[in-house]
Symmetry: D2
Subunit: 350 residues, 4 copies
Amino acid sequence: MSEKLGFVSDYMEGAHPEIIKRLTETNFEKTPGYGLDPYSDSATEKIKKACTCPDGEVFFLVGGTQTNMIVITSVLKPYQGVIAAETGHINGHEAGAIEAGGHKVLTVPHKLGKLSAADVERVAKGYMDDDNHDHIVMPGMVYISQPTEFGTLYSLAELEAISEVCHKYSLPFYVDGARMAYALASPQNDVTLEDYARLCDVFYIGGTKCGALFGEALVIPKKGLIPHFFTIIKQRGALLAKGRMLGLQFDALFTDGLYEKLGKTAVEYGARIQKALIEAGYPLYLESPTNQVFPILTNEAKKKFEEEVDIAFWEKMDEEHTAVRFCTSWASTEEDTNKVIEIIKANPCK
Amino acid sequence: MSEKLGFVSDYMEGAHPEIIKRLTETNFEKTPGYGLDPYSDSATEKIKKACTCPDGEVFFLVGGTQTNMIVITSVLKPYQGVIAAETGHINGHEAGAIEAGGHKVLTVPHKLGKLSAADVERVAKGYMDDDNHDHIVMPGMVYISQPTEFGTLYSLAELEAISEVCHKYSLPFYVDGARMAYALASPQNDVTLEDYARLCDVFYIGGTKCGALFGEALVIPKKGLIPHFFTIIKQRGALLAKGRMLGLQFDALFTDGLYEKLGKTAVEYGARIQKALIEAGYPLYLESPTNQVFPILTNEAKKKFEEEVDIAFWEKMDEEHTAVRFCTSWASTEEDTNKVIEIIKANPCK
Amino acid sequence: MSEKLGFVSDYMEGAHPEIIKRLTETNFEKTPGYGLDPYSDSATEKIKKACTCPDGEVFFLVGGTQTNMIVITSVLKPYQGVIAAETGHINGHEAGAIEAGGHKVLTVPHKLGKLSAADVERVAKGYMDDDNHDHIVMPGMVYISQPTEFGTLYSLAELEAISEVCHKYSLPFYVDGARMAYALASPQNDVTLEDYARLCDVFYIGGTKCGALFGEALVIPKKGLIPHFFTIIKQRGALLAKGRMLGLQFDALFTDGLYEKLGKTAVEYGARIQKALIEAGYPLYLESPTNQVFPILTNEAKKKFEEEVDIAFWEKMDEEHTAVRFCTSWASTEEDTNKVIEIIKANPCK
Amino acid sequence: MSEKLGFVSDYMEGAHPEIIKRLTETNFEKTPGYGLDPYSDSATEKIKKACTCPDGEVFFLVGGTQTNMIVITSVLKPYQGVIAAETGHINGHEAGAIEAGGHKVLTVPHKLGKLSAADVERVAKGYMDDDNHDHIVMPGMVYISQPTEFGTLYSLAELEAISEVCHKYSLPFYVDGARMAYALASPQNDVTLEDYARLCDVFYIGGTKCGALFGEALVIPKKGLIPHFFTIIKQRGALLAKGRMLGLQFDALFTDGLYEKLGKTAVEYGARIQKALIEAGYPLYLESPTNQVFPILTNEAKKKFEEEVDIAFWEKMDEEHTAVRFCTSWASTEEDTNKVIEIIKANPCK
């Protein structure tokens, strides 16, 4: 409970007040467990409608690493691996969860956190063309995150190209949408939930970082991708007994466009902070269209900012410079944003 | 949201109002993630104090199967298995989570859901005495649940005997306390949290079934049993980003004796229902000292009760009789309890 | 290199001289590795012919536990377990290999080492009928060994009954034939290799205990049961670089009926020893129709026999009695058999 | 059984005649199984003596991938990964065996197939210095192969430097010696078996590619690195029932310096072929000091050579050029070597 302005990440607060309200109102109701309750049903229907996939399936899980691990290890066959950008969350920040589940992450280079359809094709074709491919790991699916770990966005055209390669090589296409609300809210975005349902085999709409206490909504647009998925979820210890907690939260998030709305202010505040940093002369690690902003600071400026603002270390550039992250969230306020911009203005890059 | 009286299980409602209050009050605070927040610290301290294990460690996990799976697969070496009663939750109701983690459940017969120190010794000694034991699974730890899956209780003497055998054969002793509040609250109980900390190597105090929205508090009385446990939790997808949600709940549960209190009414109401069933002439599957009550009903009586009360199927006894479960919870009311007793009285066993 | 008569097991010697001859003759030939050599091709054809499964697949593996582990973990889905008799080799003598591969062994009671079609049906139907079966391990295949761990045999009628239940519940049926030569050679046997190919989904014809230096021939009568099996074998470290060593051995074993022949003498000598034990008044643990013989000896008789014969401990019956095993092999000689019979005659049961 | 000259790999033939002789002579002896026989004991003693590690342990396994998989997954803790060159056999050619065992391969760049002490330190130190390292895979051991997959050699100084970093960061150091005989026999080599025992925590002396039918001798210089390793070997399906087959072969290889001798001719013939290729004007992919030789051929030259010699594809360099491998073995003859050199001379690079 720091006294500083909080821009360190988007999972520092509780949940959108609407969610707290719903939890409170329904607290003493008795409903069946394990997601077999009416709130989970309602949330499922709303999400399927938002994605225009009436025949799809929706599963609610607790967290992102859990969702990635379970989806990937369930879709892959034992002799397969998952293609991902080297910067993909599953490759570097999930403590080896995919490997612990028995599978190799087949990395390709990234460009602003994104992999390319061409790289996917290179790996898939390389496998097919290799006479000795029975001795190596077979590419078995493709993982991307949207927005990426760098806050960048795949365009619709990019997603369509990846999807096409995936279909060509029978690779299920999976999108990790931990921060999906901030993608949907970006002025630069041209991809709808309906597009994900059309182009992907499985994707998740993040709750934890987008206004929920916790929870991710996994969407399988064409039902049946993962048989007996309920049991798999149970086996991995990911089945929430009081599953309605997940249903209630996503039901709230998908009522009256709340999910899109709460991403919007975060992205606006992020854009304002980014603009202020540019105007103050700070170079950017990369230009971000979403709620994460990455200036490169001198050691002195970093120290100065950190006296008043909680921000995150990103990468040491050289002895004198460090890339940091300012991260807004659904809970960021205009007041705090104005304050941080004042601080930036008061400390221009020298 | 059934119109019937709800006695089907103890995870049908939300959370104790005190918890909802705390979540609401703190909702907009910004705290570090992953359990590194002041509420988790505070809950940890309170639990360590309640268990009188100042040098212990406390970890908060989301659910019971998750906790069992992670603890057991982390404590066991690859060549070891876990000894459990054949009725143990890990053996029959967790979808093979222990085996999915690479380990055999070494089952022993149960008596009212309990294993005996003698059976543990038989397995451990049998392994030691077997000249070919290098070809078989080595017993590597002991699992029990308290209260058991049948609502029964190990006495302090029984736990001490098991603990002694465990130490003799260097077997870590693990207690699954998913319903621990109802054990602590039973008039028949003679085991304190301090006793668990003294006798066990690791145990958990259940939240999900005992008044929390979700969550289990894992206690390792002597720190260091599982090195790098934080990373293991992350790798298994069990690390909650907004870890303070767990901390807050257990902080509330361990403030002013709330945890003991909420178990107490549940056990009292359970005892009253059990008494009413006995007086109405129903035989019991077994006599329960906690919040689960198991009468054997004729098909006709079962049908009759189910018209007005949600109860759980337990076991088919023969063509004419079925054991069922009436389960009270922290949220059961005196009013509902009185109503169900009236229904029992009105439908005596014929 | 004990001076005693050797009846302790059937893997104490090298290989049938015909195999040694073939290895020697072909030693300097250069052939492709990994089983892609002409000898493996030839052996495959001979086995497919012997089993009358022209469209089947044959894979050569090094050992029995390896074969069981790879087959079972490849056929099962992550949420499934394998049904086996509690005495099945995979349950008690393979160091938890199936569980290490992620799967539960669902045990059923045995009768003389055999499970029954009725027990398989009970488990499969019990799963189907259980309203909560999404929380438990799904039966996914059936494992038996023929001859069993006790040397007993399933009759053709018994196998047909099991096969029928397996088809009814879509459970692949797997037969572990580690000692298959001794089954085929038993006067009591009424099951042919063609029968296995007709009734099973996968089975193996043992080499290690039946005259080879090592090696098991896995037969999948209808090709395609396990896609990418070559890669799976490689991944589990079970792909022999000089795969022709396996092909050569099975090519020899399946030339001129060698495999049946070498089982025959072993079974005959076993029967003679069993007869001698009965005549000398020794009770049997069970009556064996194959190469393993199980008398119950007094401590005194056991000590006496062990002075001159290497035999195996089987089970302690009580303080005064122990079941032991006399095991003949393809390498047992008439001379040694006569000698052991003389010893038995000289030491009748008192 | 190609009519061509055979230089495609070093596992195309059977075994050194001395091994065949020993197998034949001892064929009817009866010995205990699972490596508990006098030949395995004798081989163990000879290897410990050759390595000057009297207190070490030796285990015999069947193949290289099997050995790598079992050693690495046994040494690593669940939250750890293994550092290897990106070209390491475990990373690219073992079908994901390490990941299937639950662990990430942490790759570093290679130089001629070798990793550097500096790169190991960079990864180890990077982990230590990362404030968020609890969320990532911990480096847990170091894997190299000697000779490397490119036939190159680490010098003693390089191994000492790696060993030093390993000790500094408590990383067990593992050397894969699948082709160790060819390393020991190289004129460029300055590392003895004693050095490996001094510098490594575990390494294996390859048999499969060095004159045995199959088999690798794993050496743990200081006993106790992997507790219950026998059971682990059994559990992974890698325990050979007739373990003496491994003992006999290594006993022969370590009698009268046979292992060093058989590497020597192979390396000499390789050097002569490499010299001929250079003199014929062919560029090398890299210069090899062992039994693998890597010229870059034009498509035309490749086609020409392949009419008369079996060689291996290595890497496509561009549309017109391909790197190939000529591989000699313990079984290569002077006559064949002369013939291949004549063919090279007759087809100089244009």
